[in-house]
Structures are given as structure tokens and as C-alpha cells.
């Protein structure tokens, strides 16, 4: 591929430059423009358009508390902690990457060794008062453990109260019912990933 192809922005044949008339400079030209604009009837086009919309009565209002818009699966609202499908155990391995990458420094994680000498998360908090919902934590998590959820209706005295670790974790009964929903946004594996993998043309 050469550079010409890259620099050619006319991705389809339908593109054309808008024909803009020169601004009239003399009095006669201005007069002609006024006459043309006056009798072209554009004002009536405007009137017709709004009247048509009124008659069609195709309103787009969503009466919010009663009706809600479906939000996208990639929406980044308050975080969730996922569990493993196989064992219902927490996916988080306590690697601390999310704490490290968080650009607002709002994740605080602490780990300890449990009785089997396995690492276990002893403390995990997200200060949602500082979180900017950038999604970096979800992106960096190697286990797809921390993700964003779709819950945007929160109310509390403080934003910090929106969620705690126990609340973030997928409830066990949900796991039993097999209804845990994988996050499709940041950090998620794209569908058909295998087909898209390409060989790196470098000799390592």
C-alpha cells in the first residue's frame, strides 16, 4: 500500500465539493441576491417542515422515570466484579494492575495470603467520588475481573457510597442461575478474535 491511497479521503464516489457562490460585491449583485432569497420561498419550506413534524406526531420524548432508554453494553457506569463461571470464585487475582493504572488514584487494593497460601483480596475499594469512569481498570485487568456495569441510577449522600466490594461482586445466586453478563466494553475480548489475529511481520 502506498501513501496516495492512504491520503485519499474520498472513500466513495458520492463526495463532491459544495458549490458556494461568490459573495456579491457591488450593489446590483446584492440586490439580486436579496430578490432571489426573498422569492425562493425558503421560509415556507421551514414552516412546512415543522408543520409536517407536528402532524406526524412522531415524538422522540422518553418520559424518563417511567420509560428508560436501553443503554449500550459498552456503557461505563459503576463498576462490577465478575466471578469465574466454573467455580463461582472471584476472578480477581489481586495483581494490583488496576490500582496501578487508575489515573485518578481511586482504587485501593490490599492482599494477603490465605490459609492455603494463595493470594486473596483482603481489601478492595473504589472511591467513586474521584473515579472518572475512564475504563482503564477494566481494560488492564488480565482476568476480566473488574468491569463496568450498566447501573447509572445511583443516589446517596456521597458518591463514595454507591458501591462497595461486596456490592460489586456478582451475587452467588446470579452465578447459580448462570445469568452473569460479560462486559462488552473496555478490556473485553472482541468476538471472532481468533480469525482476526495476524502474524506480526517482524523477526523477534
Amino acid at each position: 500500500m502506498n501513501n496516495e491511497q492512504l491520503n485519499d479521503r474520498n472513500v466513495s464516489d458520492g463526495y463532491f465539493l459544495v458549490d458556494i457562490e461568490d459573495y456579491p460585491t457591488d450593489g446590483w449583485g446584492k440586490f439580486k441576491r436579496v430578490i432571489k432569497r426573498t422569492f425562493r420561498g425558503e421560509l415556507f419550506v421551514g414552516l412546512w417542515v415543522v408543520l409536517r413534524e407536528m402532524i406526524r406526531f412522531d415524538t422522540h420524548t422518553i418520559k424518563y422515570p417511567e420509560e428508560k432508554m436501553p443503554i449500550g453494553p459498552r456503557y461505563r457506569a459503576v463498576h462490577e466484579m465478575k466471578r469465574l463461571w466454573e467455580s463461582d470464585a472471584e476472578r480477581c487475582i489481586g495483581c494490583g494492575l488496576c490500582e496501578k493504572i487508575c489515573i485518578s488514584n481511586c482504587i485501593r487494593i490490599d492482599t494477603r495470603l490465605d490459609e492455603n497460601s494463595r493470594k486473596e483480596v483482603s481489601e478492595y475499594t473504589i472511591n467513586l467520588g474521584r473515579c472518572i469512569f475512564c475504563g482503564y481498570c477494566a481494560e488492564v485487568c488480565p482476568e476480566l475481573a473488574i468491569t463496568h456495569g450498566g447501573e447509572y441510577e445511583n443516589a446517596s449522600d456521597q458518591r463514595e457510597h454507591f458501591v462497595d466490594y461486596a456490592g460489586m461482586l456478582t451475587p452467588l445466586d446470579k452465578m447459580k442461575a448462570g445469568t452473569q453478563v460479560e462486559f462488552e466494553g473496555f478490556g473485553a475480548i472482541t468476538p471472532h478474535e481468533d480469525e482476526r489475529v495476524k502474524k506480526t511481520p517482524l523477526a523477534y
Binding site: L43, G46, L47, V50, L51, M54, T59, T61, K63
Partner: protein
């Protein structure tokens, strides 16, 4: 005779005041609904059936809100300015026949407060005074945006008044009277003046938009500044008076246009009266319609339009009318 006349007039005044104050409120409801539908929204829906009681809610809010008079304003003028707008709007209504005369309990009622022989002159004059409300209010507000708005008000004022006066001159020449009832009766025999004077009709209609300060000439209280122009410092019922004045003005000017150009209530039959109300409703609706459809013009554009385009056309129209009548 004298006492009966006095009582009748007082009753008429009270009825007109009540009806049009209420209509001004309902007018805001219709404006919000129509605008909303045209913009594919729903408008007020929650208060009462179809949001109809929104008007009452707004009224209660306006009446009970604290009336703030900021420090630094020119107190007396600041307090008086909204009254000018509302009062002049209703004063202008005195010379407007709202319906044909009808008989009620064997008593003939003329639904006009005073059929004075200078009706149109009086209405235009009083409506012209109405612009002192925004002007004085804006100047007295000690607020730069209000002051600018008042300046724009002055610019509008000196532009449209010429057109209003000149455009209506030709119909007046044809009718030979300034009373709106004479206008109405003239059109019974001679057809609507709209067809005889289409240019004057359009000119007066355009001027009516400037007169009431509606889009596309909504540049006194310039919405694009996000604040309410001359009304910036006003609160509560004082601001509400500006509002009532504006909407009452819209209704009254709709009546005037229908009377002068569209045959008014015709021969005074029930059908004529209903047709009259339909015409008025159309003109009121058109005010809302244009608000949804058209952009605002700048003050300099309005002055350009009025002085350089509309005024010559109006003068030519008068001359041609004169030649034809000779």
C-alpha cells in the same frame, strides 16, 4: 342611561381583563405544546390531564415567588416598567370589537369597551407605548445585558413603527375611517381588504411580529444570550407582567389583523363570529409556528429590512392606492 353605560363598561373591562389574563396563561400552554410537537417533543405532560394545569402551577409559582428588587437599580422605574407592558396591552384592547354585538337577556351587548372614532390610531399608539416597558425596564436594571436588550428594543422600536403606520394607511384610505367596526362593515360589502391590499397585509403582518417581539424579531429579549434580556433582573410577578403583556399583545394584534384585513366578524352572524375566532386562532398559531421554524434576525438586519425594504414598498403601495382611488 349614564349609570347603565358606566356599569356596562366596567363589566366589559373586568370581563376582558379576566378572559385575556387567563388566555395569556393558556397561550403559554399552547405555545409550549405546539413548539414541542413541532420539535418532536411532548411539552408539559405531568401536571393535570395533558399537562393542562401546568398553567396554574406556573401562575402559583409566579405569584408566590419572592419579588427581588436588586440594589443599584433605579427603583421606581424598575418597579413600574412591567406595569407599562401589561397595562398598555390591555388598554389597547379597549378599541377592539372582540365579537359582533349580540343580545343577552334582551339587552344588546357590544363586545367593545369604547367604539372611538380613532380606534386604530389609538391601538397602535398604545401598543407603541408598550415598548417602553422593555426599554425602561432594561435601562433601569443596572445590568449590562438588560441595557443591551433595551438598546435593541429602541432599535426595533424605531424600525417597525414606521411600517405599521404606513402599511395601514392604504386600508384606512380605502375605508375612510379609523374605527375597527367601520372596517368590519366596509368589508361586508367590498370583500376582504386582504385581497385588495395584499402588500399592506403582508407588511402589517411583518410589523406585527416586531410589535409583539416574536420570532423572527425576538431580538429584544434575545434568547441566544441564554438570559432574558430586559427581564434578567426581574423575578416573580413583575416578570410575569412582562409575560402577560407579551401574550395579551399577541392575542390583541391577532384580533386587529383579522379585523382590518380578513373581514373581521363579517355580518355579525354566529358563523361570522366563529369564523372571526378561527382567524384570530390562526394568527396566534402562526406566531407559535414561526417561532418553531424561523431563526431570529439581528437588530441591524431588522432596521435594514424595515427602513430600506419595507418602508419604500409601503410608500409605493400608498401612492398606487391613492392613484387607483382617484
Amino acid at each position: 342611561m349614564e349609570t347603565a353605560y358606566l356599569i356596562e363598561t366596567v363589566i366589559k373591562i373586568v370581563v376582558i381583563l379576566l378572559i385575556f389574563s387567563a388566555l395569556a396563561g393558556i397561550g403559554t400552554y399552547f405555545e409550549r405544546k405546539v413548539l414541542a410537537f413541532m420539535q418532536r417533543r411532548l411539552g408539559p405532560t405531568n401536571v393535570g390531564p395533558f399537562g393542562l394545569l401546568q398553567v396554574a402551577a406556573d401562575g402559583i409559582k409566579l405569584f408566590t415567588k419572592e419579588d427581588i428588587v436588586p440594589s443599584g437599580v433605579v427603583g421606581r422605574i424598575f418597579k413600574f416598567a412591567p406595569v407599562i407592558t401589561a397595562a398598555t396591552a390591555f388598554m389597547a384592547a379597549a378599541a377592539i370589537p372582540f365579537l359582533p354585538s349580540f343580545t343577552l337577556f334582551g339587552y344588546e351587548v357590544h363586545p367593545i369597551v369604547a367604539d372611538i372614532n380613532i380606534g386604530i390610531l389609538y391601538i397602535l399608539g398604545i401598543m407603541g407605548i408598550g415598548l417602553y416597558g422593555p426599554l425602561l425596564g432594561g435601562m433601569a436594571s443596572a445590568n449590562k445585558f438588560a441595557l443591551l436588550s433595551a438598546a435593541r428594543g429602541a432599535a426595533v422600536f424605531i424600525s417597525y413603527e414606521v411600517i405599521t403606520g404606513l402599511s395601514i394607511l392604504a386600508p384606512i384610505m380605502m375605508v375612510g375611517s379609523l374605527s375597527l367596526i367601520d372596517f368590519n362593515n366596509y368589508q361586508i360589502d367590498n370583500g376582504w381588504i386582504m385581497f385588495a391590499q395584499p402588500v399592506a397585509f403582508v407588511l402589517f403582518w411583518i410589523a406585527a411580529f416586531a410589535e409583539t417581539g416574536r420570532t423572527p424579531f425576538h431580538l429584544i429579549a434575545n434568547d441566544h444570550e441564554i438570559i432574558d434580556g430586559f427581564g434578567t433582573e426581574y423575578s416573580g410577578m413583575r416578570w410575569g407582567l412582562f409575560f402577560i403583556g407579551e401574550y395579551a399583545n399577541m392575542f390583541f394584534i391577532s384580533f386587529v389583523i383579522s379585523l382590518i384585513f380578513l373581514g373581521g366578524y363579517g355580518d355579525g352572524s354566529l358563523l361570522g363570529a366563529l369564523g372571526f375566532l378561527a382567524k384570530v386562532a390562526f394568527f396566534f398559531f402562526f406566531f407559535l409556528w414561526t417561532r418553531a421554524a424561523w431563526p431570529d434576525v439581528r437588530p441591524d438586519q431588522l432596521m435594514w429590512l424595515c427602513w430600506k425594504v419595507l418602508m419604500p414598498i409601503a410608500v409605493i403601495n400608498i401612492i398606487i392606492t391613492g392613484i387607483v382611488m382617484m
